[in-house]
């Protein structure tokens, strides 16, 4: 198992993630190269989301995580965001009473405190351009949007942070087939633009269409074939 080398966007070494007494992920080691797209698959409740939460800093973890070579301090979400890793969480976690535009603009929080600068930035513009369907709904309260629109808002919020690595947890949870297709098209375009992409999916059929390789998580144990090869 190779350690983090040059061109490694995300390196994870011996990481375990726990909630209280329950250990969700055991001793995970794998790495993701810059510009890659990886699908994290495995049955539900086996640790896929916990893996991401631990990396980003929202769950207690031990072990080492490096982002573009720099070791990430445990529990510091702001640091990981500033370093270029943004998470679009499971079930979206939007702010239901704020407008869709406000939800997206808050994604810029990691790099600015000025609402005006945020709205005028390239990152914000690109995030909205990716989902032209949202244009007419920007002023609507996010809680009143449909599931698919909410997912788009969540991804746009992730992109507003101008990330180099975008991690998306179960992007199509509860969405209809046609909508899932559109979401994945958007994710494919994000990847084509050069962003490293990580997608967590329970049923990986759609994810594998756009991902180079897969990482399996079963019972909290990670199995990651070396990068580059299609399984």
């Amino acid at each position: 198992m190779s350690g983090p080398g040059p061109g490694t966007a995300l390196g994870v070494t011996g990481m375990s993630v726990s909630y209280g007494n329950l250990v969700a992920v055991h001793d995970a080691t794998f790495s993701i190269g810059a510009g890659e797209s990886v699908a994290i698959v495995g049955p539900n409740g086996n640790g896929k989301s916990s893996l991401l939460m631990g990396i980003v800093g929202l769950a207690r973890r031990r072990g080492e995580v490096t982002i573009f070579g720099s070791p990430a301090p445990a529990g510091d979400v702001m640091w990981t965001a500033r370093r270029g890793l943004t998470l679009v969480p499971e079930r979206r976690q939007l702010y239901p009473n704020l407008s869709a535009a406000d939800n997206v603009v808050l994604g810029c929080y990691s790099w600015t405190r000025s609402a005006r600068k945020a709205r005028r930035s390239d990152a914000y513009g690109r995030a909205l351009d990716l989902f032209p369907d949202l244009r007419s709904h920007l002023r609507q309260a996010a809680g009143t949007l449909s599931g698919g629109q909410q997912q788009m808002v969540a991804i746009a919020r992730g992109l507003a942070a101008d990330p180099k690595i975008l991690a998306v947890d179960e992007p199509c949870l509860g969405l209809a087939e046609a909508v899932s297709k559109r979401v994945y098209e958007a994710l494919a375009r994000v990847h084509e633009a050069g962003t490293t992409l990580i997608v967590v999916e329970e049923a990986p059929k759609r994810a594998l269409l756009i991902c180079d390789r897969r990482v399996e998580v079963r019972n909290g144990v990670v199995r990651a074939p070396a990068g580059g090869a299609r399984p």
Binding site: L58, V77, Q93, Y95, V105, L106, G107, Y109, T112, A115
Partner: protein
């Protein structure tokens, strides 16, 4: 008619105190899911602190005000750092009724105890910031000058807060923290720091209002309790999450109190008011805007 009008005006003045405290409770609850039942005591501290420094220690008034506010801010900061952090940020998150009521109950007791030691048990008030007689609003309606200050403070602080929330990114971040804790942390919002800031700001705001309002009613070391409670009840009518509704409820309670005191009975006016409020809650909990926020 005159009496009715004056009662309403007086009611709006005291109501705006309740309203401000109700808003403090509601906003604070949105950000932290804790009910701050000590707001009234911060008001009392402001009033009695300024009184003590300016009257007993003979400090100039502006200095007394600044010193008192600084002390309140420092205390609020330390309380959050020490107690609230331990309660919320450690692995064992105390949830439900324990956090919701007791920590700030305890804080309220604690502040009252200290005030008792420092200021004694008599009634005091901060010196009036705008001395003079009641102003005549025309048509026989009077309003005390301090009352105008109170309303002005309410409008200014309310307006500033509303603008802050709507137009700045950090204002939106505060709202986001209250809407979705996880979602806020995802974008890098330090919810802990915001909670601390809001707590300190709430305490300061309450203290300022205490200073401005105390010439009207006078405070003792236990005055804060009733104000906190009324603020809490008004915030409850707003469902604890809607500052605008809490504001209206506070004003309404103030006016109701004044009218009952003037028309029904000076002694039993408050008693009747609480009975009415309790009956309303029991009869139509949903119409009154209640969510079972505590029963989880």
């Amino acid at each position: 008619m005159m009496k009715f009008g004056n009662l309403v005006v007086a009611g709006i003045v005291t109501g705006s105190i309740y309203a401000v405290f109700a808003v403090c409770v509601a906003v604070w609850y949105r950000v932290s899911n804790i009910l701050n039942l000590a707001v009234g005591d911060f008001a009392m501290t402001g009033a009695l602190g300024v009184d003590y420094l300016s009257r007993v220690e003979n400090w100039p008034l502006p200095l007394s005000i600044l010193a008192t506010l600084a002390a309140v801010a420092a205390f609020g900061y330390c309380y959050d750092r020490v107690v609230l952090s331990l309660a919320q940020d450690r692995l064992r998150r105390h949830e439900g009724i324990v956090v919701t009521f007791f920590f700030t109950f305890a804080l309220s007791f604690f502040i009252e105890g200290i005030a008792q030691i420092l200021f004694g048990t008599n009634v005091h008030a901060a010196p009036a910031l705008w001395p003079g007689n009641s102003l005549n609003l025309g048509g026989g309606l009077n309003i005390v000058r301090a009352g105008i200050l109170v309303l002005a403070c309410a409008v200014i602080s309310g307006g500033m807060f509303a603008l802050y929330i709507r137009y700045t990114l950090s204002g939106k971040a505060i709202e986001a923290s209250g809407e979705n804790y996880l979602g806020a942390r995802i974008v890098g919002i330090d919810t802990r720091r915001y909670r601390r800031s809001i707590f300190v700001i709430t305490a300061l705001l309450a203290a300022i209002f205490g200073i401005v309002e105390s010439p009207i009613t006078g405070y003792t070391y236990i005055s804060g309790a009733v104000i906190s409670l009324t603020g809490f009840i008004a915030a409850a009518y707003g469902g604890f999450r809607h500052p605008a509704r809490a504001l209206v409820a506070g004003l309404a309670i103030g006016v109701l109190e004044a009218l009952l005191g003037g028309y029904v009975s000076a002694e039993y006016g408050d008693t009747v008011m609480y009975a009415i409020l309790a009956a309303l809650v029991l009869a139509r909990p949903r119409a009154m805007g209640f969510e079972s926020a505590v029963s989880n």
